[in-house]
Amino acid sequence: MAEKILELDSVTAGYNGKVVIRDVNMEIFSEDFIGVVGPNGGGKTTLLRVILGTLRPMKGKVKYYSVQEKGNIKRIGYLPQLNMIDRKFPISAMEVVLSGMMSKNGFLKRYSRRDKELASQMMEKMGIAHLKDKTIGELSGGQMQRVFLCRAIISSPKLLILDEPNTFVDNKFEGELYEHLRELNKTMAIILVSHDIGTITTYVKTIACVNREFHYHRSNVITEKQLSAYNCPIQLITHGDMPHTVLKKHDHR
């Protein structure tokens, strides 16, 4: 049974008094796989920060249900954009993966042997076991994404959030990543942010569009009629049975 894990209740958010997203209502359930699309500057990252709890909404409320445990600890895994990472930072791949355990352990507990075994298994599964002791600066974009994915899921979170995971990544890893996500979706809800809507619509279950306003389609099939109603910068192309969606140039009122 799908249970509700998180809810945004008429959330308005932005920075320094400037509103970026307005009046967002959204419910996230445990089996969801939501693709978040929208143009750059449309508020995708703002939405993520509100969900992650690192940006306080100006109006409205974020309600955490089973993703939040006692204290302030949230069972959310997060894969940041690669350009947010300092590649010169002296940290090994293994240390990055292990740091994901802190959502479970809190900041006082040290890593146990089981944590380390778990990290090794995780990296084995992702095919990066041999990179354990490399520093992150020595890794390629795809390898780094694998490391960050391991970090995000090592604590078996209830919700996994990925911010543009397909930038700086080779096609081979991209396909692999989506297969991993499909597998992970059996145990956790996933929110995937991307501007490459063409690829993601084949994997996600539902699509949300953020362009100042928020439109959530509880389906991954979008019709042209829906689009015009929602005022989304998206165009549909159908290729056989597979619906593809493409961004259309779009003036928002």
Binding site: T54, F89, P90, I91, V96, L98, S99, M102, G137, E138
Partner: protein, 281 residues
């Protein structure tokens, strides 16, 4: 000849000062360099001069004044750059020169001659007193324990602050404690190399260590060792060549960095050896 030097009380004190300074700078310097807060640390260092001036004026220990000033400026820069409209690095520049200005004004206002002023500006490891050593020892132990206890949290917050916030870790509290430790490390090293030269003691050892490793933990060990070697050889140069110790310590460190760079250049370019090495800056 070193055994002969060890008979001097001053030299033994200086040697202990080099040990504590080496450890404190090895750990705190690694934190500074990895977090790219060298400029902030420079600002804190120089603004501590305000505390020295006020200390002279009020007739209290200038180092105590420097400690108060440096911690307040460290926290002040963080606080005001978050609240105000001024850019972070401009804010550092303002506090940097404001502290220096306050120091100069108060020294000017202090009647009579300000003794040992040059010691605070350019350092003199041979004037480190037993009281100074006790302060250094206590702070070094605190830093070691703090880093042992919170190592993973420090590493995580430094590497990916926003994710640490997602987990609900006490990011701001940890950062404030760490920047206060940076400020106090700066203060205990004022007598060793002086305000003007201090920042290099927190960066050159790490630059050298970075040639041999690029993990945080090893960088701490290697830079502690390098800092000690620099401090010790600088002390010897200072003694035998009769030059100011602060300057000779920094010079020794720079020479060491040059030698390491030269060695790496020869190994990789001239002899063309294909040894895997860690990426350096």
């Amino acid at each position: 000849m070193i055994t002969e030097l060890l008979q001097y009380h001053l030299f033994v004190n200086a040697l202990w000062a080099a040990v504590f300074a080496g450890i404190a700078c090895g750990i705190i310097g690694t934190y500074i360099v990895s977090n790219r807060i060298v400029f902030l640390s420079g600002g804190i260092t120089h603004s501590s001069f305000g505390g020295i001036g006020v200390g002279y004026y009020l007739g209290i220990n200038p180092i105590l004044g420097a400690a108060i000033f440096s911690v307040l400026s460290a926290l002040g820069i963080e606080f005001f750059s978050k609240k105000g409209e001024v850019r972070y690095d401009s804010m550092i520049g303002i506090w940097w020169s404001l502290g220096m200005a306050i120091g100069i004004i108060f020294i000017y206002l202090t009647p009579g001659y300000a003794p040992n002023l040059m010691t605070y500006l350019f350092g003199s490891i041979l004037t480190v007193s037993t009281t100074d050593l006790i302060f250094m020892a206590v702070l070094t132990v605190i830093i070691i324990l703090f880093f042992i206890f919170f190592y993973h949290t420090i590493l995580f917050i430094s590497f990916d602050e926003s994710y640490a916030r997602v987990f609900g870790l006490p990011v701001d509290a940890m950062k404030n404690i760490l920047i206060s430790l940076v400020a106090l490390t700066i203060v205990i090293n004022i007598k060793v190399v002086g305000i003007i030269l201090l920042i290099s003691l927190l960066t050159i050892p790490q630059a050298i260590a970075n040639h041999f490793t690029s993990t945080f933990e090893k960088m701490i060990y290697y830079s502690t060792l390098t800092a000690f070697v620099g401090l010790f050889s600088g002390l010897l140069f200072s003694y035998y060549l009769d030059i100011p110790s602060g300057a000779s310590i920094i010079f020794a460190l720079v020479v060491l960095l040059g030698l390491v760079k030269l060695a790496f250049y020869l190994i990789f370019n001239v002899f063309n050896l294909n040894i895997q090495r860690s990426e350096n800056n």
